[in-house]
């Protein structure tokens, strides 16, 4: 099987999950499993009016591509796509999408999970909260749990 090229996009526009699945699967019949992960903006119990996602334009795509290429080396994928939005995002809106396809289901699940763990800890994006109260919001703190989640892939 020849290695696939991950489709990586950094954009302010929203994405369409069904269209991204179709891009990976249309016209081929060797794919038995497609896993998608969509990350959405939560309102944190009504306290949040929006998230502002700052990113490092040059590096963001390059870093996600490095992580995606590692996933392609590690699992027998038939397709891999990652889209990360930047800018102001309201509660309920999409932030990030990962789509992984493979002949077999565990490869698709694991590759999507792996990509998300490393996106969280290595992709140069920073979230600032806009509060519903109108007060100045905080920059979101990195979670130790996210570092632990990324760390677990080294133990395999």
């Amino acid at each position: 099987m020849s290695r696939i090229t991950p489709d990586i996009r950094i954009q302010s526009a929203d994405f369409d999950v069904a269209a991204e699945i179709a891009k990976l699967t249309d016209g081929r019949s060797d794919t038995g499993a497609v896993v998608t992960f969509t990350g959405l903006c939560r309102d944190e119990g009504g306290t949040l009016s929006a998230l502002e996602l700052e990113h490092y334009p040059g590096m963001a795509e390059a870093e996600i591509r490095r992580i995606a290429e590692e996933a392609v080396q590690r699992w027998p994928l038939t397709g891999l796509a990652a889209i990360h939005r930047h800018g102001r995002i309201a509660p309920g809106e999409n932030i990030v999408l990962v789509v992984a396809s493979s002949a077999h289901r565990q490869a698709a699940f694991e590759a999507a999970n792996f990509l998300m763990d490393f996106l969280k800890t290595r992709a140069p994006f920073w979230k600032k909260e806009h509060l519903a109260s109108g007060e100045e919001g905080q920059w979101v703190d990195a979670k130790e749990a996210d570092d632990d989640a990324a760390e677990r892939w080294k133990q395999r």
Binding site: M59, A62, V96, L119, P124, D146
Partner: protein
């Protein structure tokens, strides 16, 4: 060298991007961070957070303080990422 700042580091220093003339003695990442600390009160305060401030050289994560700056045209400074 082009120096870029993100998130609260950008806000604290009130600089998004600058072109800096580094002293000839600044040859490694460790030297660069030490030089940053010497640039005044705000820089000293920000770069005192050694475990928090992350660095990318030419758009790649680097955490080895001995890493050479040779060929580096762009250095970025930021807190831990919170994407995804």
């Amino acid at each position: 060298m082009k120096l870029i700042y993100f998130s609260w580091i950008r806000e604290r220093l009130d600089i998004a991007e600058e072109e800096a003339e580094l002293p000839e003695t600044v040859k490694t990442l460790g030297d660069l961070l030490a030089w940053q600390k010497s640039r005044g009160e705000e820089f000293e305060a920000v770069f005192a957070h050694e475990k928090v401030v992350r660095v990318a050289l030419n758009q790649e994560h680097v955490d080895d303080l001995a890493a050479s700056l040779e060929g580096v045209t762009e250095a970025a400074f930021f807190p831990p990422m919170t994407g995804g």
